[in-house]
Symmetry: none
Subunit: 216 residues, 4 copies
DNA sequence: AATGAATGAGGGTTCATTCAT
DNA sequence: CATGAATGAACCCTCATTCAT
């Protein structure tokens, strides 16, 4: 076989494996969204993927590992979107902060299936340290950046009476609360409206940095 | 059995019965907090209650009903505290709103075990309409009152550029987000600090109504 | 409750438990004999016992533990018969040795079902140290006693050219070989004939101690 | 395909085919010795052979057939060694009998891996007639020859009080028992010592035919 | 001829529920 | 009212077998 055919072979042998894993992770997300984490079984997942039962242990050794990789997948996806937003955003702290919040309401993040997964794992994180650790990575970095940006904005805008940490924590908590509303009660909280609520908070905090929000 | 004996027994039998049910509900809360909802079994609950396995079907017919009543118990408790706060609060909308937010950070509400239960059920609410309905009751009334109070305050204070609904939704979401932080990462988010974050938001929204918050 | 009732209660609550375990162990022996160790499943055992599948994990935690306790049961039973035989035997070494060999062909030991179990575990003992350890207890003591008795007999009878250890090892191996024949080919090797073979060996070793065997 | 190509291929295709089969049989022996028959899987065998999973069904159709052929291989090997010994032995019955027993302790027979296989199948022979039949071939012929030789020796040596069948059965059982000891407890029973035990028995039976054994 | 991804029947185990005590 | 032994459905996982490559 020529080098070319070897390359295409390796593409066919290793790629499908990665594709299968992705396919199964996506089936897991759908299953958690549809049945809940408690009622997500090897059977619901493999059925959702249109494959046989044994496939999960073949590719992930155990159901537990599949769940962990599913969480990791979602955490990673979020992180990537977030870093991309930071890279593409302008230099000003105000722009950067706004860009980050936009990510939180990006369709790929606010997908209700994925929100199901986030909250399923958060809900169990108290009893499962492994879950908490996976999420903690996200939170820590996230919090630090938000805090830094708030601090900059406050000093730039000479906002008095605003504590940077209180503001940052508020912004972060607000996002999570809005996610919860979108998950639990999507009719009363659309993605678009959630973003508006978030932006309204930003405006009230830093009115001189976000004049345009006033008019929306 | 004569009517008389039934009646006299009913006093003795139903009271302990109610106590057993409460005892089991509290054991359920502890079990969900400790093991997660997925790993909460009839056995973990009855062990936590110091009773035998059969006790749950005896008093609740099924595990599912026990879970529902546990959720109902927490929802009710929250509602009661909330109504009590409204009744005891002053007449001004600002006072009433602040009083309500205080309830959200009341030790009895913010108990981490109970937060575990809230989020456990929220996480599954997408797949279990019964859960959602139980929570929906709380949310609807809650949202309506908060909204009304915000509207009053805005008109009283002639706050321009504040949409009452956006503000109300923000306040409500913020609380939920702070609850999540307290659940997932209690070291970084104490009950006290959460309340401060919440109050800080209130202040930024309605500075002329909450001057005292400025100094804290 | 009186002391009496407590006693009868404990008899009813703990005895059945022990009875169930015995019942399951006996079902296991039958299953190994009938299906072989490889094909002995939780299902074959519980069916043999006339009970449900869950019963095994209820009483033995796992199938593996049931198997170990089954082996231990058979080892123990053998040991008890053996010690009883020693206690009841006369004082002379010749009598004692003969008594021990009688045990090896006792109906309760040579039961073909039980032989199945012995050989099933011996066959796996190379790969499963736990099995070997359980059997090793028996072997060691057994060998030591047989050796001692042979030594005494040899010195008493002034048998020249007989090594006590060779004789003892031979006697012990002969028994095991006869067991195998009874297991694998019961039509050609009855319990009675096996005993005769064993006794014939004894006679050839120590003719002056076992004159009566000559005539049989 | 032309006849010619078939013929020329048959040399190339069937030879390696036979080699593969042998390779897999040997891997099976190692696997049974290492993991036990219960834990010998298609995977343990193919791994031991350094080949892929599918190879077994390719060459043996099923796992069961591989096991049967493995047993047959060992039975055959034993038979061949045995027949060769008979052919090469002298004419006297005593020599022939001794030669046969030598085979039983030949390194190729007493290999602990192979003993594992023997006993694995013997242990299951009660529940699997197919296994028993495979072994029965060996036993029958073996027993007949041993018996014949003993009979000759007895009549030659005018040994009184010795029943030929009892002696033959004893010899055969002794060998099997010694094999078991070598398998289960190799530290206490070396191949060399086992042979000595066997020879000691022979001496005691027929002292006038085996004078040399006396001195060893 | 050989591979190894995929299958699915059947394994051991868990657990909500029942019921005799 | 309370227990806990027993059940059996459903879980996760293993593994002999198939088949496209």
């Amino acid at each position: 076989m020529s080098v070319g055919s070897v390359r295409s072979n390796s593409g066919k042998r290793t790629e499908p494996k990665e594709k299968r894993r992705l396919q199964l992770i996506q089936a897991t997300i759908r299953s958690i969204a549809r049945h809940g984490l408690s009622d997500t079984t090897v059977s619901t997942v493999s059925t959702a993927a249109g494959l046989s039962q044994g496939i999960i242990n073949l590719h992930f050794q155990s159901k537990e590992k599949l769940l962990l990789e599913t969480l990791a997948y979602i955490v990673d996806e979020y992180k990537i979107l977030w870093e991309k937003a930071l890279k593409e955003a302008g230099d000003s702290s105000a722009e950067r902060l706004a860009a980050l919040l936009q990510v939180d309401f990006h369709p790929r993040v606010c997908d209700r299936n994925k929100l199901s997964v986030w909250f399923a794992f958060w809900a169990e994180s108290k009893s499962r340290p492994t879950y908490r650790k996976l999420c903690a990575g996200r939170d820590k970095e996230y919090d630090a950046v938000i805090f830094e940006l708030c601090k900059n904005i406050i000093s730039e805008g000479k906002y008095s009476g605003i504590d940077a940490e209180l503001a940052a924590r508020g912004l972060s908590a607000l996002t999570e609360g809005l996610w919860l509303d979108m998950l639990v009660n999507p009719r009363n909280m659309s993605r678009d409206y959630a973003r508006k609520v978030s932006m309204a908070y930003l405006f009230h905090l830093f009115p001189r940095h976000y004049p345009e929000l006033n008019k929306e």
